[in-house]
Amino acid sequence: MAQTSTLDRGGATPSAPARRPTAPRRSRGLPAWAVPYALLLPGLLVIGGLLLYPLYQMVEMSFYKVGLRQIRPNPRPAEFLGAGNYTEVFRSELFWSSLRNTVVFAAVTVALTLLAGTLVGLLLHRLGRAMSTFVVVGIMAAWATPPTATAVIWKWLFDADAGVVNWALGLLPGPLSELIFGTSDWSGRPWLNSPATIYLVLVVAVVWASFPFIAVSVLAGLKSIPSELYEAARVDGSGPVTTFWKITFPLLRPVFSVLLVLSVIWDFKVFTQLYVLAGGTTNREAFNLSLWAYTEAFSAPPKMGFGAAIAVVLTLILLVITGVYVRQIVRTEDVR
């Protein structure tokens, strides 16, 4: 009664008579319908307790004023503000600059990541087996590098005095620098002071760390396309660009759309690299939404309700994007 139709049919076969007496013991266990739920239970408890319940608490908290008095021992009850935190968020100039930073950064980074990843994926497909493995391992090592280390390495490369970038720029002729920056030479250029150049370095660092995953996914997709299609295209005299847009892209469209949404989600909530590159929470003009929420909630004086309201706005934006992703996954894969 416990297992499958095979068991019912096979249970009477003489091949396993000796073990047969153990069968009734199983009936003392869970009924068959309850097994999957029992297996899921620990996972559901973890997800419920550590992700869903805090999510609910975050929304609730965003309607209250939660500060130092509320998080100390013997807390005072929090003051209910209604939508007060949200009005303050939308009125704040920081909201608009953070939103702009978040969106522009995500748009630029996603475009460059997908472009670089696709090109490298196409390259990997043309390489021989050994070389392809070698390059995959090499680029995935960049992907596996801890975000803190990534940020620190790029911070060093772009350092005003000790950085390789300024040293390399110093090899260029001086008048060119005057043309672009209006300074007489290249040395000592501080990349990590103003928000615009912080984000420039951030884009480079994040693209460097995230294009390998795109490349490997595109490679996996390319391997699934029958080579006859490409042969037919070649016979018909199609060039590489036409072949890509007429064959590769349409066939890999589901892969690309999932990668696009995943990249948008990842780049929307980038935190660690920005925190390190911007040097903590002091450079307010360089905030994105997650760094702003973090700063409001955790630097003195802590305004946790206000921080929660910012986090709710960020989460809502991400949920809309996630909706697109989930629809795509449901369409391309059997979650049923």
């Binding site: 297992q3 068991l7 999957p36 490997v216 995943l262 973090y294 996630t322 996954i329």
Partner: protein, 227 residues
């Protein structure tokens, strides 16, 4: 090399780098040990059984992965304090288990589904109970996938920055990423030392990654993209 030995002996912020590496290792291993058991059970449920709410659960897994960690940080911070786990590595382990689990289940279920069902049916015919079948038949065959998934969780927990930054106050409890961040902000010109510390933090990740890269890359791609 002189920078490495200097960072190793003199350390950062009054503690040896070994201390931070050990803290990171404790957090990452604890996350993997607790998380992989839970993930394996749940992955078996979704890959092997058809039941009501199965689709709902899978969609839930997709959605919760998108919640930004910084958003849940505020309630989790208060929760960890209330539980008396503030400033303790155990608190970090608990939070990391929550954040690595959805993807671990998602990735592991493809490995479970790849094991032919007939093997378990054969074991059942031979009279093996559910537990025996799970332990003796399914588990050994899923073990490589479990290793790949565990290493992914390990790397995620090892690299994790924002929880470690917020939930640990005492410098002796810093994990390596936080120690590195601290070091970078304190002595921003000691690039030799900073690079030495980054290298020490990155080496274990790269080594683990190289050990399982083939299986992990295919599992990752299958987990994230099924085109």
């Amino acid at each position: 090399m002189e920078h490495v030995s200097r960072v190793l002996t003199r350390g950062i912020a009054g503690h040896s780098v070994w201390r931070y590496l050990l803290n990171s290792a404790v957090v990452a291993l604890g996350t993997v040990l607790a998380g992989s058991v839970v993930a394996l059970l749940a992955a078996t449920a979704v890959a092997r059984f058809r039941f009501r709410f199965r689709t709902t659960f899978l969609i839930l897994l997709l959605i919760v992965q998108m919640i930004p960690a910084e958003a849940l940080l505020i309630p989790l911070f208060l929760m960890v304090r209330r539980l008396g786990l503030y400033d303790q590595l155990l608190g970090l382990v608990v939070v990391n288990v929550g954040f690595t689990l959805p993807f671990a289940i998602w990735m592991l279920r493809t490995f479970v589904a790849a094991v032919p069902k007939e093997l378990e049916e054969a074991a059942a015919i031979d009279g093996a109970g559910r537990l025996v079948t799970f332990w003796r038949v399914l588990f050994p065959l899923v073990a490589p996938g479990l290793v790949a998934t565990s290493i992914f969780s390990f790397i995620t927990a090892w690299n994790e920055f924002v929880f470690a930054l917020t939930l640990i106050n005492d410098q002796g409890g810093y994990t390596m990423p936080v120690a590195l961040g601290f070091f970078t902000s304190q002595r921003s010109t000691d690039w030799g030392g900073i690079m030495a510390a980054s290298t020490l933090m990155t080496i274990p990740v790269i080594v683990f990654f190289l050990l399982v890269q083939r299986r992990m890359v295919s599992g990752l791609v299958a987990g994230a993209v099924k085109g």
